[in-house]
């Protein structure tokens, strides 16, 4: 059984506020008020979100994860507009579209350039639960057991909850009373996850990405060959599959 978490209004408000604060024009209180009103959030929600932003913003650096935080915020707002939690037409919608449509400072996502979709692409905040499809998780160093996630116990962005190697959320004892007063997420039971959420080819895609880096300096060396051999074993990729992927990769690059 899988649980998909729906975004709570205060999470959406928080995401919109982050985007507004980080926009070129700076925080737009009018827009935030409209979002707050639409989401039926109270002043306490607004204050909590603002306080959270101030505590984590780090002068706009977000602890070195600015792009990830902005990306996730955009996803949240987009999702809210898609499921009509926020209006998808009208003045407010236009203003929000401007916010989420802002470019990532022209930075290039190397993984997107490689054609590797991240686990969070097109998914909701709740889709973190299926972020096992993140191809990069397969290539974390074995000694590096934990990876910071962007979402804290409040469902806000940029805090301390963690993912393990497989992208599964490591259970933490979050016993903040606010969670009971303000349910963070509505849990909806789904019998089977749609296949699109966890692409069956993910290990192959991840492996191919790693393989493509082996010739980045033009020469395959023993360490790279050993790494690939180990990853084939870990990901359950047969040698025949390896040769097929290698051939198709080289054909594409030629």
């Amino acid at each position: 059984m899988w649980l998909i978490e729906m975004l709570a209004p205060e999470q959406i408000l928080h995401a919109a506020m982050i985007l507004s604060v980080e926009s070129e024009d700076g925080k737009d209180e009018g827009l935030i008020s409209q979002v707050q009103e639409t989401l039926e959030c109270d002043a306490e929600d607004h204050e909590a979100a603002m306080s959270h932003i101030e505590n984590h913003r780090d002068g706009g650096n977000w602890g070195g994860r600015r792009e990830a935080v902005l990306h996730r915020s955009r996803e949240r707002v987009r999702e809210a507009m898609e499921n009509d939690t926020l209006p998808s037409t009208g003045q407010l919608s236009d203003a929000l579209n401007t916010l989420v449509g802002e470019d990532d400072d022209g930075e290039i996502d190397p993984f997107a350039e490689l054609g590797v979709a991240s686990g969070g692409m097109g998914g909701s905040f709740g889709a973190n639960n299926v972020s096992t499809s993140d191809p990069l998780s397969a290539f974390m160093d074995d000694d590096d057991e934990e990876e910071e996630d962007l979402v804290d116990g409040d469902g806000f962005l940029a805090s301390e909850s963690t993912l393990n190697l497989d992208g599964e959320v490591i259970e933490e004892e979050v016993t903040e009373p606010e969670i009971e007063e303000q349910p963070v997420a509505e849990e909806v039971e789904v019998e089977e996850p749609p296949e699109e959420e966890v692409p069956a080819t993910t290990p192959n895609v991840a492996y191919e990405m790693l393989m493509s880096t082996c010739w980045i300096d033009g020469i395959l060396d023993p360490a790279e060959a050993k790494l690939l051999a180990r990853k084939r074993d870990e990901l359950g990729i047969s040698f025949e599959q390896h040769l097929e992927m290698l051939q198709s990769m080289l054909e594409r690059s030629s």
Binding site: W215, G218, I219, L220, D221, P222, A225, K226, L228, A229, R232, F239, H242, L243, L250, S253
Partner: protein, 158 residues
């Protein structure tokens, strides 16, 4: 198929390039080679048509196809394929190629060559360190000398 990096292409070079002519003896040797390596008619046709286009049309005849002697010697080395050690040797050669530093181009050329001989898999296993550890290659068989040059195990001048 990478026609230019195949044993059959090499055989055509031996047959044609010494004096710009192809003898009847060479034609028979090429037929024999095709059978020995199990090359399909369609693959042979593709290689030969590319060879004609890229090489033969630029040749100037200067004899009667005396390349058949070199070709005969080359075809004789195909007996290596019946050697039980051919698998291990190919794997060892793959490992040696990887240790020497293998570029994409060298990989494509050498794997294409080895594949036409039916030795592509052990060679690839050696390169990519698949399965049991490959041994060291003590001596490169004559059949594999051209590909050993391609991957830098043997100097081109040797």
């Amino acid at each position: 198929m990478n026609s230019e990096n195949t044993p059959f292409w090499h055989a055509l070079e031996l047959a044609w390039c010494s004096d710009g002519a192809l003898s009847l003896h060479s034609i028979r040797l090429l037929d024999a080679m095709q059978n020995m390596i199990g090359l399909s008619n369609s693959d042979r046709a593709e290689i030969e048509s590319q060879f004609e286009e890229n090489v033969v049309y630029d040749l100037t005849r200067a004899g009667f196809g005396c390349g058949d002697q070199a070709l005969a010697a080359w075809v004789g080395t195909l007996t290596f394929l019946d050697d039980p050690a051919s698998y291990d040797v190919s794997k060892a050669m793959g490992k040696a190629a990887m240790l020497a530093g293998l570029s994409k181009e060298r990989w494509l050329a050498s794997h294409s060559w080895m594949s036409q001989l039916g030795l592509g898999l052990p060679y690839a296993e050696g390169v990519w360190l698949e399965g049991e550890e490959a041994g060291e290659i003590a001596r490169v068989p004559a059949l594999l000398v051209p590909v050993a040059k391609t991957i830098g195990l043997i100097d081109q001048d040797e």
